[in-house]
């Protein structure tokens, strides 16, 4: 039974990822919470980076496990770009991002605009394709795709002008340590 509404609300990519991971891969919730400390652009830059270098005192395994959160974030970003005017958007985003960097301001979260049923179907297909490519079982891929659909439909709409702040930590912070997000470092 198709429960999706005719047209979804505008939602932030990170909210969808958070919701889907909580549903389908709760073991990755800590990973997502960690990713939420970064802006969308920073997250995407880190997820797209191949190889994180070998630390001399690392464990030494080069294995990469197929995690749901990174896969989903990349797919949703890809879908979001497809659904917007990529060329204009990219140019505008590029200069805006540079200006934000100079001013050390955090970028607003990426928003998926309200989707038609056809567009929701396209997103679902993209999720299924990416999951298959990552080697996830079909049933698991379907579960994730369904969860994405539900998240797009049910997630509370995100105001387009309000930036989403990173989730506040629930664990007590160490008083003698500087806040990890204060430095505003750049990706390597």
């Amino acid at each position: 039974m198709d429960t999706q509404p005719e047209c979804s609300s505008a939602v932030a990519v990170r909210d969808v990822v958070r919701r889907v991971v909580a549903d389908c891969a709760p073991e990755e919730s800590v990973v997502v919470e960690g990713l939420l400390h970064y802006s969308d652009a920073e997250v995407l830059a880190r997820l797209r980076r191949r190889g994180h270098g070998r630390d001399p005192l690392g464990f030494g395994l080069a294995d990469v496990v197929p995690l749901v959160a990174p896969l989903l974030w990349l797919v949703l970003e890809s879908a979001r770009q497809k659904l917007t005017d990529a060329a204009v958007d990219q140019a505008a985003r590029g200069s805006a991002a540079l200006w934000r960097r100079i001013r050390r301001r955090k970028a607003p979260p990426e928003i998926i605009p309200p989707l038609t049923r056809e567009q929701q179907a396209m997103v679902r297909r993209m999720v299924l394709d990416a999951a298959a490519e990552a080697g996830l079982p079909e049933s698991r891929a379907k579960q994730i795709a369904d969860s994405v659909g539900a998240a797009l439909a049910l997630t509370k709409p995100t105001p387009l002008t309000e930036p989403t702040a990173p989730t506040e930590p629930s664990a007590p912070t160490e008083p003698d340590e500087p806040h990890g997000g204060a430095a505003g470092g750049e990706p390597r």
């Binding site: 990973v31 395994l61 294995d63 990469v64 664990a171 990890g180």
Partner: protein, 997 residues
């Protein structure tokens, strides 16, 4: 919490120190030493000078001529060359030279402290405590760390990293752990993998790997930025120039070698660091495994994933550059940590090459201030690479030996390890240019074989010491014998490095002393006159020429004694103590039922024979030595030398042939011991050492009572106690005998062992397989009086030997602490020229012109102008005093001539200390002038003071003839320069620098 399982390793990998810290130290010192050395030319560029001018004035041209002969000319004229350089091309102050490595170390220290801050930057990771849900992950890590590491690491997460990985960074005092997103995600679904990875990282913290690893990285990066970059910028220009210039092989070789050094150091550092890190990974795995880490689970998953590596050769190569071993190796090491006990070729080679490079680079720090160098300072510099290479190789060889003993396997010989170590030392020496001078290859390449031979002897010695300790040491821990072996090995390598730096490398480049000069030294060694028949000078001269330099290195006596005292102490300890004590081997190893049988067989195979099996050959050697000395006395007695003819070569031959008898006895003792015992090298060493010591004592006694037995009287006709060291005091001859005796004991033992090893197959073939030596009786724990005697021997023999070495070392201390500034005198320079010559280099006409011009410019013109000017003044006075053809010598004339004679004598006194004129013809005139005026000038002054007209007339005539020689020399120089408008003929002449260093 993961339960702790019993250790699976058959042998605890911690039984002997890992030795990785010493290999890290080797890298750190290599980088620091190279930092200082490579910056010397850069710093020198800030102090431009006329170094080339001094070289040319000395008659050398290192960039176009015979470089060995050129260097000989510089050393042979050190009294002129060093002051010339000090005045015209001053080296950078020592503090500036030492500031280079100091700054590198300081910046590296700051970088080491800053590196963790960079690694934990927000762009790379987030602090786990700031992440929602991170507390659960942290709790599990804390649970795993509790009781296992001294301090809980701070936790970070790299959420975007999908790998199943973790790493530790920071310092041992403040560790940090970084978990990847993939690992954090698998904590719930695959907790065993999570535990295995985290426990492995905690193993790194427990093993204190953090500070040293990251300090090495920081130092390397600092070295690249602060040293290599400015160095390459500076030298690349010269290197390109050298290549483009072509036809100038010396310049090209020097330039390209300088450019190659940073590249070679980079390769050595990279490979050595990767090798050490691989072993640290295995240690961390084993530590984690001991804590119950389910590492097998991780490896099993990889095996089921079909991760095979069919390209074995490629893998073998890649294994050398990886910082982590392949998982197959890691899995296998959990069952049997053999890789941690193996003596691999690559680490040996790298240790050797790093030590050789470091050795040369340390010497390079002091070379701009060679006048500050003393024998002890050179020895101290050589002791640094010796320490690190001794620590690195000794630990590895001990581990290998202990493992073989515990598992009942054949003891490692150390030959292969020694060959690789030797090859590394050779490679480092050739690459640095120490043994090649300014050329591509050594002049005498076969000398490098001696380096390999010494390296093999050292590793074999180390293995045998370890074997003795395993067999006989009664203590509860191997630390004591290992420390003893480390100190002795350090002393041996220090003495070797010092000799190599001064003489071995010089000989390899192609230089050695003139045979006729060495013969002159032997003939004139002992004061007085005397002769022997037959004349053995031709035999003594080259042998003494080689041995005296090796024997007189500051640490040689104590190192030579340590070479045989160390195995003696280890061996004797088994006799004195409670027997073969291998409890420390078993205390941490796993002993199964199958091991029990192997243990019995191993004990039999490893048991050392009774110590008297080496003391008997030693006594035989001492007897041979004593008989030989008596034979020498009988021979010299037959010459019936008169009392006035008992000095010179007569007395020297007495000492040297007595020495030969002692050494022959030691060699015979070593041969007998090496042929009959199972522990060949230690047996030969102990037998030769004790035999030589007793032989020296017997010789001392026989010489001290010389004259008491008429047929053996050599120096005396009456019987009295005259200490040998007093009778042979001249030229420190007795000291020479004692020094060489101590040195030759281990040398003959190594030679005898090599001979025994070579003839072993022949002996077997001739006598059959049953010709093996009878099984030696094992060491036992004697009781009562025998035990007391053993204790006395175990303490007394090393005590006497070390006391002898100490007396010799202290006796030489004053001379060996003397700097070159004090030891380079006119006499020393003359002696050097006599044994090494002062060759005139065959150079082109243009180079000769430049050499002569430089000589003239830097002081020659000043001397010649003064000689000629003074001669003219004297001629004018003489003309004024003359009546026709007759010279009337009056008091007024003598008073007027007296200051001129003194002035002339002053000028002539420069002739032996200033450079020789590079043109032989001009030099002949100049030298004749010098010789004549050095005698006639003072005669003239004395005659004028005494108003002795006859003597005055004769001396003035000599001076005037000599003045003509000065004019001839000057004319010859002007003809060679061949350009009257040359600036060198104008202006005020430059006075030569004072010959005070």
């Amino acid at each position: 919490m993961t339960s702790v399982e019993p250790g699976r390793a058959r042998l605890d990998e911690r039984i002997v120190g890992a030795g990785t810290d010493s290999r890290f130290a080797l890298l750190l010192l290599l980088i620091v030493a190279a930092g200082g050395y490579l910056l010397v030319p850069v710093v020198s560029a800030l102090h431009p000078g006329d170094y080339r001018g001094c070289q040319l004035a000395a008659g050398a041209d290192l960039h176009t001529g015979d470089t060995v002969a050129g260097a000989t000319r510089l050393v042979g004229q050190a009294l002129a060359f060093l002051p010339c350089v000090a005045r015209h091309a001053p080296s950078p102050p020592l503090w500036q030279i030492l500031a280079g490595p100091a700054v590198v170390v300081a910046v590296a220290a700051v970088a080491t402290i800053s590196l963790p801050l960079w690694k934990q930057r927000r762009g790379r990771c987030v602090r786990l405590s700031l992440v929602h849900g991170g507390a659960e992950v942290a709790a599990r890590v804390e649970e795993l760390a509790a009781g296992r590491v001294a301090r809980m690491p701070e936790l970070f997460m790299a959420p975007a990293a999908g790998g199943v990985n973790a790493s530790v960074f920071g310092t041992n005092g403040r560790p940090r752990m970084l978990l990847t997103g993939g690992l954090v995600a698998c904590r719930v679904k695959d907790p065993r993998t999570f535990d295995a990875v985290v426990l492995h990282e905690l193993g790194h913290i427990a093993n204190r790997d953090l500070t040293i690893t990251h300090a090495t990285i920081a130092l390397w990066r600092t070295f690249l930025v602060l040293v290599v970059t400015p160095f390459l910028l500076w030298w690349s220009g010269l290197g390109v120039f050298g290549v483009v210039a072509g036809g100038n092989p010396a310049l090209t070789a020097v330039s390209l070698r300088y450019l190659a050094v940073p590249v070679v150091i980079a390769v050595v550092v990279y490979l050595a660091r990767a090798d050490v890190l691989r072993s640290r990974e295995l240690y961390a795995d084993l530590t984690a495994s001991r804590w119950g880490a389910p590492l097998e689970h991780v490896w099993a998953e990889r095996a089921s994933a079909g991760d095979r590596h069919p390209r074995r050769r490629a893998n073998a190569l890649l294994d050398q550059v990886r910082t982590h071993p392949r998982w197959e190796i890691r899995r296998a090491a959990l069952d049997d940590p053999a890789p941690l006990f193996a003596v691999s070729p690559l680490p040996m080679f790298l240790s050797g090459s790093a030590a050789a490079l470091m050795n040369y680079h340390l010497m390079g720090h002091i070379s701009p201030h060679v006048t500050l160098l003393s024998d002890w300072l050179g020895q101290a510099l050589a002791a640094v690479p010796a320490a690190v290479v001794a620590a690195a190789t000794t630990t590895a060889l001990w581990r290998s030996t202990v493992r073989a003993a515990t598992l009942g396997r054949p003891a490692p010989l150390g030959v292969r390890a020694g060959l690789w170590l030797g090859l590394g030392l050779i490679a480092g020496s050739v690459i640095s240019g120490q043994s090649t001078g300014y050329l591509w290859l050594p002049g005498r390449w076969w000398v490098l074989g001696l380096v390999a031979a010494v390296a093999v002897a050292f590793t074999c010695w180390t293995c045998q010491c370890a074997r003795l300790a395993v067999t006989a040491w009664p203590g509860p821990s191997p630390r004591g014998p290992l420390a003893l072996c480390l100190i002795a090995g350090w002393l041996i390598l220090s003495a070797w490095c010092a000799w190599w730096n001064y003489y071995g490398a010089m000989y390899a480049t192609g230089f050695w002393y003139d045979p006729a000069g060495l013969r002159w030294v032997v003939v004139n060694w002992f004061p007085g006159t005397g002769d022997v028949r037959p004349d053995t000078t031709a035999v003594m001269a080259p042998v003494i020429g080689v041995l005296r330099y090796a024997a007189y290195q500051p640490l040689t006596p104590v190192a030579a004694v340590a070479a045989w005292v160390t195995p003696f102490v280890l061996w004797a300890a088994g006799t004195v103590g409670r027997g073969p004590g291998r409890s420390w081997q078993r205390s941490r190893g796993d002993t199964g039922s199958d091991d029990a049988a192997a243990d019995g067989a191993a004990s039999r195979a490893w048991a050392a024979p009774a110590l008297r099996q080496v003391t008997a050959p030693a006594l035989l050697g001492a007897a041979i030595g004593a008989a030989g000395v008596a034979g020498v006395q009988a021979w010299l007695h037959t010459l019936h030398a008169a009392p006035a003819q008992r000095g010179g070569l007569y007395a020297f031959s007495y000492a040297i042939w007595s020495l030969a008898a002692i050494v022959a006895g030691a060699f015979a003792a070593a041969l007998v011991a090496a042929a009959s015992a199972r522990f060949r090298l230690p047996s030969a060493l102990i037998a030769a050492g004790i035999g030589a010591l007793l032989g020296l004592g017997a010789a001392t006694a026989l010489i001290s009572v010389d004259g008491c037995v008429e047929p053996l009287s050599v120096l005396n006709d009456t019987c009295s106690w005259r200490p040998a060291w007093r009778q042979l005091e001249g030229g420190n001859t007795f000291g020479l005998v004692a020094h060489i005796t101590l040195l030759m004991a281990p040398v003959t033992a190594v030679a005898a062992t090599a001979l025994a090893a070579l003839f072993r197959p022949v002996r077997r073939a001739v006598l059959g397989k049953n010709a093996a030596p009878a099984r030696a009786r094992s060491t036992c724990s004697p009781a009562g009086r025998r035990r007391g005697g053993a204790v006395l021997a175990a303490v007394g023999v090393p005590g006497v030997a070390l006391a002898t070495a100490a007396v010799l070392t202290v006796g030489d201390a004053e001379a060996q602490l003397m700097t070159k500034a004090r030891s380079v005198t006119v006499e020393a320079q003359t002696a050097f020229r006599r044994v090494a010559g002062l060759p005139v280099l065959p150079v082109s006409r243009e180079v000769r012109r430049r050499q002569v011009r430089a000589w003239y410019r830097l002081g020659g013109r000043y001397l010649l102008d003064h000689a000629i000017g003074t001669g003219r003044s004297m001629a004018r006075l003489l003309r004024e005093a003359g009546h026709g053809n007759r010279l009337e010598v009056t008091a007024g004339l003598m008073a007027g001539m007296r200051p001129l004679c003194r002035n002339m004598a002053n000028v002539a006194s420069w002739e032996p200390v200033y450079f020789e004129i590079p043109d032989p013809a001009a030099q002949t005139f100049w030298h004749r002038f010098g010789l004549a005026v050095q005698s006639a000038g003072p005669e003239c002054v004395r005659a004028a003071e005494r108003e002795d007209a006859v003597a005055f007339r004769i001396s003035v005539a000599k001076i005037m003839i000599a003045a003509v020689m000065a004019v001839d020399a000057s004319d010859r120089i002007k003809a060679i320069v061949d350009d009257p408008s040359d600036p060198v003929f104008r202006g005020v002449p430059v006075a030569p620098p004072q010959p005070r260093l």
